[in-house]
Amino acid sequence: MKKLIFSGATLLLLAAVFAFTIAQGWQPTDKYNIGFSSNDAGGVFKKFSGNIIFDEQNTTASAFDVTIDAASINTGNGLQNKHAKSDEWFDVVKYPVIRYVSKKIVKTAAGYQVTGDLDMHGVKKELAIPFVFRKTGNTAVFTGSFSINRSDYHIGKPGGEVAESIKVDITVPVVKK
């Protein structure tokens, strides 16, 4: 009898620990917006996918692994799109995917901050992205804004008309998995 109670209690404890460490998975909807802007150029990436695991109460078990199809860039102008996809800029034939994999997510005063590796144009660099998470029932929205230096990723020629600093605005509505 003692053995049975002990086994049951162990199982319950394991179940509780397991439930605590597995954070909520979220599925991005198709209403996302991955936009970028600078003094001269601006646009969006139309194809985005990935795994999003996030729990406000358990950021240590949360993780992002998201990819953007570099060829899905849209500046609103056909000639600019062609130029952006060329080997001078994103070189989408050689580097078809932009990937961000989180390493750490922490709570901040304004929301959260994820630190991870951004792999873009063959260059992998650590990047911290502040974001806000707004949950409503089974849906939620991740929003974040940050700037990156395009020359850090060897995108475009240094200098020129397009500024070095590119502002990125991300809005990703999600639903519970």
Partner: protein, 132 residues
Amino acid sequence: MFKRLLLLGVLAGMLAGVASIVYQKVYISSLGADFTKIAAPVGIIASSVLGCLLASLGFWLLNKWLKQKGEIVFNLLFSILSIATILAPFAVKLPLDVESPELFPGLVVPMHLFPAMAWFTLRPLFIRETAN
């Protein structure tokens, strides 16, 4: 002559507008690229009529000022301006939710030539003689 020129402008504009809308329908059905939100039929007809009316006004003014040489100058100017405007669609920045913006110039570039074609086609029906 001015009234006939105005009538020519309106009718040539309507003809160019109808030709543009027919071309747009063929373009959409063959390539699947729909730009009707940007190049709406009403806008196409209105801009075609406006272009042809301006052409009529230009024709009248040039014939007043330059007499016999007015027609030659007008024909050259109208053709050159029509061809020059085909550069504009290549530079236009469409809303970011519009798919395949690279197909947009292929739609609107021919439309820029239709007003001149329509105006020159209908002109002999309205204006037989220019300034003496």
